[in-house]
C-alpha cells in the first residue's frame, strides 16, 4: 500500500479519536504531539491503538516497534516502515 505521510496522519487521527476524551486536543495534533502527555491517552488504550492501527493499515506492529510509538511522528515512522515492508515483493 502506498500512502504519503500526510495521508497516514489523517488516518491516524481517526485511529486516535476514540481514545481522546477532549476532542479539542484532536484538532491540534501535529508530529510533535505526545500521545500520553499531550493527548492524555490512557496507557491501556495505547495497546488498543496499536491493534487498531494494525487493522487500519493492514500491517503487523511488533513489540519493539510499538515501544517507539511515543509521539505522532514516531507513530508515522513505524507505520511507514511497516507499510514499506508489506509493499515489498
Amino acid at each position: 500500500m502506498i500512502m504519503d505521510r500526510k495521508a497516514i496522519l489523517e488516518e491516524l487521527k481517526k485511529v486516535l479519536a476514540p481514545y481522546i476524551k477532549n476532542k479539542e486536543l484532536l484538532a491540534g495534533i501535529n508530529e510533535q504531539t505526545n500521545l500520553v502527555t499531550d493527548l492524555k491517552i490512557n496507557s491501556a488504550n495505547l495497546v488498543d491503538i496499536v491493534i487498531d492501527a494494525e487493522s487500519k493499515y493492514h500491517i503487523e506492529i511488533d513489540v519493539d516497534s510499538a515501544e517507539k510509538m511515543v509521539t505522532v511522528s514516531n507513530c508515522l515512522d513505524v507505520i511507514q516502515e511497516k507499510l514499506a515492508q508489506t509493499s515489498q515483493p
Binding site: N42, S43, A44, L46, V47, D48, V50, I51, V63, A66, E67, V70
Partner: protein, 171 residues
C-alpha cells in the same frame, strides 16, 4: 533530585475499570500485553479477559514502583499472579474493577469513585487522610469511573482503606 525520604521503598498502584475493557478484544490484545510464559499462569476458573487485565494491572503497578520511563507490558514478566521478581503484588478483583498494588511495609491504598478531574480529585482524597502525603513515596492511578492511590504509612496502622465489602477475590 528526589524529594522522597531516602531509604523508604517506592509505591506502585494501578486500577482498571472493567467497563472500559472489551472481552471481544482480549485475544488480539494479549500478544501485546503478555509474555509467552505468562499464559500458563491463568487459573482454570478465571476468564481470559479478567486474567489479561489482572496481568496488565500487576505490570503497571510494578512499572510505577520501579519508576520506569516508558511502559512496555511485555517487558515486565510475572513469575506468578502476585509476584514479579522479588516484588509481591496484591490484587483486588471485583465485577467493576481490578486493582493491583505493590506490597510494602506500611502499605496504605484506597479506591474511590471518580467524577471530575482525576489529578485534582485524587490529591483531594489523599490529603484527607495524609496531609503530609507529598513527603512519602506515593503512587496514583485512575481509569474510567475510579481513582486510587497507595503510599507508605510510617506505622502501617491504616492499612487497607479500600472498600473490602465489594471485594470478591483477593489474589
Amino acid at each position: 533530585m528526589s524529594a522522597l525520604p531516602l531509604g523508604l521503598p517506592g509505591a506502585g498502584i494501578d486500577i482498571v475499570d472493567l467497563s472500559l475493557t472489551d472481552p471481544a478484544r482480549s485475544e488480539r490484545l494479549a500478544p501485546k500485553m503478555l509474555a509467552p510464559s505468562e499464559y500458563a499462569l491463568r487459573p482454570a476458573e478465571m476468564s481470559f479477559h479478567i486474567f489479561l487485565w489482572l496481568c496488565w494491572s500487576v505490570k503497571e503497578a510494578v512499572y510505577k514502583f520501579r519508576r520506569g520511563t516508558f511502559f512496555q507490558p511485555t517487558r515486565i514478566v510475572l513469575d506468578a499472579l502476585n509476584r514479579v521478581g522479588d516484588l509481591h503484588v496484591r490484587s483486588v478483583v471485583t465485577s467493576d474493577y481490578i486493582l493491583s498494588v505493590v506490597d510494602t511495609p506500611g502499605l496504605v491504598f484506597e479506591v474511590a469513585p471518580l467524577s471530575g478531574d482525576p489529578s485534582e480529585e485524587v490529591r483531594s482524597l489523599i490529603k484527607k487522610g495524609f496531609p503530609d502525603w507529598e513527603r512519602r513515596p506515593v503512587s496514583f492511578s485512575h481509569h474510567g469511573r475510579y481513582m486510587a492511590y497507595s503510599l507508605q504509612d510510617a506505622d502501617g496502622s491504616r492499612v487497607g482503606k479500600t472498600d473490602y465489602a465489594k471485594r470478591k477475590n483477593l489474589v
